[in-house]
């Protein structure tokens, strides 16, 4: 009797500790969001969101940076999503295990480990200089795409592989082609996972500074970019600039910019969550 009481006590203590640890992981994210909300909240106004910066960026808004980040994210999605999902389908559904696929997999894993500034230099060399796309939205989007690809490919491949093999066998045995099996059974099942991977990848692209530093980001532009061959301002780079390059910068504007960037990224997260839970609710098994 005494022994079992003791065991229960140990268990209660253990679980309390684990719960505490789990709660502690929430603290940083809540801390960051609250701190930035408090510091940057007062800077947010319609004029801040929709105006151009002036007076050496110490005054005015960040509209061009918001639009720029939107364009860059969109551009990245246009290149990386079709390529990434197609590569994942190839790897998960068509490729047989041989030297070539192992090489592709190895490349993807290593691509994910490369520091983002190296992508920036690579983009500068390939897209800006060699292909003569110049410092432009196109060059920056392509650079971000390469950086995003491994995330999209590996999460999508994972999602495809999680679909039970028996579904494929049954579909084939009912006379479907492999492509019909993928389109009608496998892709719909894997879609929530793929969407999550895509948005996670694009989130990272939206928040990165280093890859766009040399390939598409501008310090200051008096007007919005008109074509994909124009350079653009972007939120993360703008934040970097006003935090380090401009003396006597009002800190509200810095935190206001950070707040908008975080809202942008968390907003994408929210969209991903909504899409995923909708898809899950519709799932018929």
């Amino acid at each position: 009797m005494k022994l079992s009481l003791n065991r229960n006590l140990v268990q209660r203590f253990g679980f309390s500790l684990i719960t505490l640890m789990a709660l502690m992981t929430v603290i940083p994210i809540i801390g960051v969001v609250i701190y930035i909300l408090i510091q940057g909240g007062p800077a947010i106004s319609w004029q801040f969101l929709s105006g151009f910066p002036h007076d050496g960026m110490r005054q005015g808004g960040i509209f061009p940076a918001i639009i720029g980040t939107f364009y860059l994210t969109l551009g990245t999605a246009i290149f990386s999503v079709p390529l990434g999902v197609a590569a994942a389908i190839y790897l998960a559904e068509y490729a047989s295990e041989n030297m070539a696929t192992r090489l592709i997999r190895l490349a993807i894993i290593n691509l994910a480990g490369i520091p983002s500034v190296v992508y920036g230099l690579f983009g500068l060399g390939l897209f800006v200089l060699f292909l003569r796309f110049g410092t432009s939205i196109l060059s920056a989007s392509l650079t971000l795409s390469i950086m995003t690809l491994p995330v999209i490919i590996s999460t999508s491949e994972e999602a495809l592989r999680a679909v039970p093999q028996s579904f494929r066998t049954v579909s084939i045995s009912l006379g479907a082609t492999r492509w019909q099996t993928i389109r009608r059974i496998v892709l719909p099942e894997a879609l929530p996972g793929i969407i999550t991977g895509v948005i996670l990848g694009l989130e990272r692209a939206a928040g990165e500074t280093a890859p766009i530093l040399f390939t598409g980001a501008a310090f200051f532009l008096p007007r919005l970019p008109g074509t994909p061959f124009d350079a653009t301002m972007a939120l993360p780079y703008h934040l970097f600039v006003i935090s380090t390059q401009v003396p006597e910068m009002p800190f509200q504007i810095q935190y206001g910019t950070a707040l908008v960037l975080i809202a942008f990224v968390l907003g994408m997260n929210l969209v991903a969550t909504v899409i995923r839970s909708r898809a899950r609710a519709k799932r018929q098994w």
Partner: protein
């Protein structure tokens, strides 16, 4: 009665060295139940999977011999495999319902072949469910997710799903291994009804089931066809010592 399927000197080896078939020759009669029985790893499932070319999904090292379906060699790489799978349906050991509605499962095979007419699809749904003795249980909830059905119902749905394609041959790989005796009884009763219109090849999950259902029975042991005969004789007076050992329960 004519031979629906003729297997001629079929030899099969998988790349990983697993289960294989050695020089199998046998005739499978039309409108009858032919059971393939024997201990696990004997090659029964492999033979089934050859008959509708599901083996294409597996890495095969050697495949020799022929399987003739109505005189046409279905192992010929040039044949229309999709068309073959429409003629030869398959039901697996564990019921695998596709992540669709009950109706969606039944119409899937027809839809991938391009059938869009609702009247045709409705007709196939009702006919196949009645043939698989499931119509009375599910006709009021055809648009529910198929996964909501019980295990026994799911397996009959899988049977119905094959029947919806109006195949000529139905291959069943231990279709009742996961089912309770009542569901098993329903499936076996359906099979007796179905053999009037279809050619059935069944891998039973026990010798008892083999003896209950067989019109023809083939005993497989380690990739070899040991004995093959008409009727229940093989279960009562087997000719081969190895068959006798197995059916009397001395091994397996």
């Amino acid at each position: 009665m004519t031979n629906k399927i003729v297997v001629e000197t079929l030899t099969l080896q998988y790349s990983d060295g697993a289960e294989s078939l050695r020089n199998i020759s046998m005739d499978i009669r039309e409108h009858a139940i032919t059971v393939l029985f024997g201990p696990a790893g004997g090659g029964k499932s492999s033979l089934l999977r050859c008959i509708n070319r599901l083996n294409d999904l597996t890495e095969v090292r050697t495949l020799k011999g022929r399987i003739l379906l109505d005189g046409e060699n279905i192992l010929d790489p040039k044949i229309d495999v999709i068309g073959l799978r429409r003629r030869v349906g398959m039901v697996f050991a564990r019921p695998v319902v596709l992540p669709l509605t009950i109706r969606g499962n039944l119409t899937y095979g027809l839809e991938v072949m391009g059938e869009k007419r609702k009247s045709k699809l409705d007709e196939a749904v009702e006919r196949s469910l009645k043939q698989a003795a499931l119509w009375d249980e599910v006709n009021d909830r055809l648009n529910d997710p198929a996964i909501a059905l019980s295990g026994g119902q799911q397996q009959r749905l899988c049977l119905a799903r094959s029947l919806a394609l109006e195949p000529e041959v139905i291959l069943l790989d231990e279709p009742t291994s996961g089912l309770d005796p009542i569901s098993t009884g329903k499936v076996e009763a359906s099979l007796q009804e179905l053999k009037k219109h279809y050619t059935i090849v069944l891998v039973p999950h026990s010798v008892q089931q083999a003896a209950r259902t067989a019109d023809f029975a083939a005993f497989f042991l380690q990739g070899e066809l040991v004995e093959y005969s008409e009727g229940k004789g093989i279960f009562t007076t087997p000719k081969e010592k190895r068959t006798e050992d197995y059916v009397t329960g001395r091994f397996g």
